[in-house]
Symmetry: C2
Subunit: 114 residues, 2 copies
Amino acid sequence: MATDQLSVTFAALADPTRRAMLARLAQGEATVSDLAQPFDLSLPAISKHLKVLQHAGLVSQGRRAQWRPCRIEPAPLKEVAVWMEGYRQFWDESWDRLDAYLEALQTEEGEQGA
Amino acid sequence: MATDQLSVTFAALADPTRRAMLARLAQGEATVSDLAQPFDLSLPAISKHLKVLQHAGLVSQGRRAQWRPCRIEPAPLKEVAVWMEGYRQFWDESWDRLDAYLEALQTEEGEQGA
DNA sequence: ATGCTATTTAGCTAAGTAGTGAATCAGGAG
DNA sequence: CTCCTGATTCACTACTTAGCTAAATAGCAT
């Protein structure tokens, strides 16, 4: 398995359960049981998913009595955003519009030339 | 393994070899051998990585004689970008600045109150 | 037909992942 | 101290992934 940060982050995000947990944490702190509640999974399974998210640095965990409140951490998402930036031309709609625009321009020129 | 599109895409991106192949394809079409060239991997290994990328819809393959020219496909990247949008508040720097700004405001208010 | 180059498929191994239940640790509360 | 709740670790099973070599397929060139 790849161990570079970006690979670990992508791998952590490659699971709908973990993304749902992250979505829940985007709304604020939650305990492990809070996170487990929507799923038909054992607590150990949730704990494991959580560990994957922590290992990726996407989530940090505190302690309050017997609870382990979890928070979302922005750094790895930022790294993904930076990586995505390098491919913006492929996914940004405005680029598609620009592409269509340039194509239209070229067509006009062709018609003028004919 | 999760089979939803986003999970498959993230899983495909969770490998530095595959991301490097994608980076190469971002510069234009390439054959399988072209893609294999920078790596110390057997051709079958590259072919497998390529299949993962194709299965994620990130790459499409044509045929020209005995070559299979590969192209990058934008749709799954777009889906990732859309997903990321939902977390912009966590990774966008301007949010950090806003956060700092609000914090500064609150500190000022506190000092005024004291 | 034969061969040559590009690529894929098959069959295998080693290692990693996702889930389970049982047991254990952490930390109040009676 | 003992019990109860929250959470983790352990030991195990089923499955997937990444790599390899060897063999097969695709398509041009002779």
